[in-house]
Amino acid sequence: MATPAEWASLCEKFRSAVNLSYVESKKDPETEPYRSKYSARELLEGIKQQLGSEEAEGSPGGVGGGAAGADERERQRAVALAAVEYELGVNHTDTQEYSAGEEHLVKCAQLLEPHRLSRECVSLYIQAQNNLGILWSERDNIKTAQTYLESAEALYNQYMKENGNPPLDSSEHFMDEEEKLTDQERSKRFEKVYTHTLYYLAQVYQHLEMIEKAAQYCHTTLKRQLEYSGYYPVEWALNAATLSQYYLTKQCFMESRHCLAAASVIFGQAGQVPSAEDNETEQDQQDLRQRRAEIARCWIKYCLNLLQGARKLLEDNIGELDPDRQSELKAQQKKEEDEKEEDRKKAVLFGTSDLCDSILAMEEKVSCVFPLDFKEAREVFLVGQNYVNEAKDFFQVDGYVTDHIEILQDHSALFKVLAFFEEDYERRCKMHKRRIDMLEPIYAGLNPQYYLLLSRQLQFELADTYYEMMDLKVAIGNKLEELDSHTIKKINSLAQMAMKYYELFLDSLRSPDKIFPETLEEDVLRPAMVAKFHIARLYGKLITSDGKKQLENMQTSLEYYSFLVDYCEKHTDAVQAIETELELSREMVGLLPTRMERLRAKLSTFT
């Protein structure tokens, strides 16, 4: 081995190289972005040469310690050389010289190969594999990247199983004894290296479209950040809340709720930790409030999805609650309760002891199984509504128009799905009225020049809500002996309002010179057709004692039905989007003229 003085100078060089690479390089001028990296590279090459020349000399400076000592020295030299190769490899990949980078990293791995399960080498070896993974992904060869990263993952697992002692950090190979790290610090750094492996794997799986696996690795990364306290609370909470939305799209409510509960709990820490300067600016406070509102919005979606999922399960073919289905599901739910949940739960749990308890307490505030009756649905609804208020508190219309309206839309959707569980038609009607009351004023103020999409969505939803209310009033009226004038007036005015908003929506599709498009764009095709169809039906529902007026309404209704039929004749590709509506329209186009004829005949006999 080198003399102590030589060794000290090697260590010094290595330290400056690392400093240049990771600290100084951040300050490099734009015109010479890699200046520090290149200086670091020079130093590293120097160290490598020095280490290499010793090999040639057959390490004569060594104290006579027999074969075993020589082996040990040779091994130390190899490891030190590997550390240099590793730094050189990273240096070259950082400066976009991938081929050279690959050579160095492969060399590093080769040197370590025989010792890769030893305490000295395991961390460095995994880092080399990590970087080879990054390198191959830069070359757009994700499959190869995957191989390297998975082998790093496997090595970690094997090491932890067979050895498990805190391994040396890759920076320690050029350190004097007294500088060496504590076991605790070693462990922390090693776990971080492995967390990175998992994080890179998450990305690799995402690129390979192995979405489920990618999500699982994101979940684990989050979990490990929490365990090894390597996280910023706000950032962590947002990531967990976002992950909850992934689980929502997969209908995994238990996992979704767990992520959200953890997000809320961890976010709570953000306020408690005093910031570095402890003089949080107003902007920081504002940001914090916004993040909180974002998490609230994730909760809203959770409640909404849970309710909508339940509705899907419970509804019959005309969209009403199916009581048989309801009792069947209730029985089934009772049986399954707690059975499978526990096992699944263990796999995804965040945090340890105290933290875990707070998260579980948070979870208890809302169910993660489908609500099956009004009472259960209402509980979920109320939680959702609370979060609506929290979110609206920050996302006020003045400044956050789009966000504010999106939250209102969610609120309206919550009412809509709750109404499904309500059996009393009058009360159900009132729920829809609440939707109208929240959406109508905001729609009136909205400038469609800037918010065309939102504006169309609101037109459509308002139309639909009035339509639904009219249907309910008709159903209520049907139970009466005779329709009273008040109910008739109500039905007619609801129908008029529905028509008004459908027409507004259809008008929004017109060109500047007010011409309705010959061919509808794919994304508005179905809504436009449904609007036409509903208007046709609404004209059919209008109640009037005036025969002439009735005839007029039938005529208009026929024109709308015909529009659907004619359009689909001209655009056969539109048929599948509106099959049911088209079928009914065809039927009506066949029936209405006869009915109108009959009405005309009846009218003429009276005159």
Binding site: P29, E30, S137, D140, A145, H196, Y199, Y200, Q206, I211, A214, Q225, Y232, L238, A241, T242, Q245, Y246, L248, T249, Q251, R291, R297, C298, K301, E320, V397, G399, Y400, Q409, D410, N447, P448, Q449, Y451, L452, L453, R456, Q457, F460, L506, D507, S508, L509, R510, P512, K514, I515, F516, T519, E521, D523, V524, R526, V530, H534, I535, E559, Y560, T580
Partner: protein
């Protein structure tokens, strides 16, 4: 005409026609003195809308709304790209013109003209000065036609976006501007200076000052101009008085010089969101991006993603799939050295063509038919 068409409901909505983003590719000439090793070009223009990239093993053909070869003049770029947009702006539409491409591909030349010339009278002036001229020409013509009943008000602002922060180029003292939304006015920058314009000459002046601020900033604070986006916005407001009724129409024209699209040198910093990020992001704090990508694959289920759009896409929300006429000029350098970046620019442009005015309606199919 469709049944029930009332025709009197004035909604300033755009038609289906023309909503798709128009993509225009411009090939710049090689730098003077470039040595042409084995022809040195990585592409050839086949016709006025196709381009062939000499990739290996198979050459690739790209089709765009228009492809302008190296000898295309500034005037012809303006008439084929910007003229229509300025015209529709007069009719109350919002319009946006972007220049996209790697540093050195000619974005600034296309949008502004050659560097270091403050007068915009020469033939090499770019899209922005020409748009000013045309806009004010149209305004004057309108005024003559309509007389005293019609008046116009033009205001402009000039914003720079660097590192997800907003700076006002018309007020170099200001920093840290914010984006907000207004229910009738759309997205706006809080506190940005708005200068009233009455002529093209005034507009040049504002542009020059702002541009100078941009460059000053790039040296004094070690900010590279090609890493920032510059957004020049003109608000055109017309007021027409008929029978004591005031009819006000307003529209925005955004002229955008984007940051260089080439791979960010430092992989640890966040790249431009418009472009796909590198394959593996090494910073753990970007975990959210990975998760967001997972959620995006969602299947029409209700979800909320906590990470907001970038400032640029938020500011130009209407231009990217919103209610506006938008055109992208993809600038490319034909040198074979630039092959990789050219390919990625063309790929981006190809994708941009697919962006449409996405007016998705939350239409509920349940319970329609009873």
């Amino acid at each position: 005409m469709a049944p029930g068409s009332k025709g009197d409901t004035a909604l300033a909505a755009s038609s289906a026609e023309g909503d798709a983003i128009k993509v225009f590719v411009r090939v710049r000439p090689l730098e003077e003195g470039t040595v042409l090793a084995d022809n040195g070009l990585c592409l050839s223009v086949l016709s006025s809308n196709t381009i062939r990239l000499n990739s290996k093993p198979e050459p690739k053909i790209f089709t765009f709304d228009h492809v302008a070869d190296v000898d295309t003049t500034q005037e012809s770029v303006f008439s084929s790209v910007a003229k229509k947009i300025v015209e529709s702006c007069m009719n109350g539409y919002n319009g946006t013109i972007f220049a996209y491409g790697q540093t050195g591909s000619g974005k600034t030349f296309t949008m502004m003209g050659p560097p270091d010339s403050d007068n915009f009278t020469h033939n090499l002036r770019g899209v922005i000065p020409r748009s000013f001229e045309y806009l004010f020409f149209l305004i004057e013509r309108e005024k003559e036609k309509a007389g005293a009943e019609k008046s116009f008000l033009c205001k402009c602002s000039f914003i720079e976006i660097y590192n997800e922060q907003l700076f006002d180029l018309l007020d170099s003292a200001s920093a840290g501007l914010f984006l907000r939304e207004h229910i009738t006015k759309g997205v706006f920058v809080v506190g940005a200076v708005e200068q009233v314009l009455t002529s093209a000459a005034e507009a040049y002046k504002v542009l020059t000052t702002g541009w100078r601020n941009r460059r000053v900033a790039s040296t004094s604070m070690n900010r590279e101009s090609s890493r920032s986006h510059a957004v020049f916005t003109i608000t055109v407001e017309s007021m027409e008085k008929t029978n004591d009724v005031m009819n006000i129409r307003s529209s925005l024209l955004n002229l955008v010089d984007l940051a260089g699209s080439e791979r960010q040198k430092d992989t640890h910093t966040e790249g431009v969101r418009l472009k796909e990020a590198g394959n593996i992001n090494r910073s753990l704090s970007c975990l959210g991006q990975v998760i967001t990508a997972l959620v995006d694959v969602g299947n029409g289920k209700q979800r909320h993603i906590c990470y907001r759009d970038s400032r640029l896409t938020f500011l130009l929300r209407d231009s990217l799939g919103g209610n506006a006429k938008t055109c992208i000029i993809a600038n490319i350098n034909p040198g074979s050295r630039c092959f990789g970046e050219t390919l990625s620019t063309l790929n981006f442009a190809q994708r941009a063509k697919l962006i449409k005015n996405k007016a998705v309606i939350n239409e509920d199919t349940q319970g329609n038919v009873k």
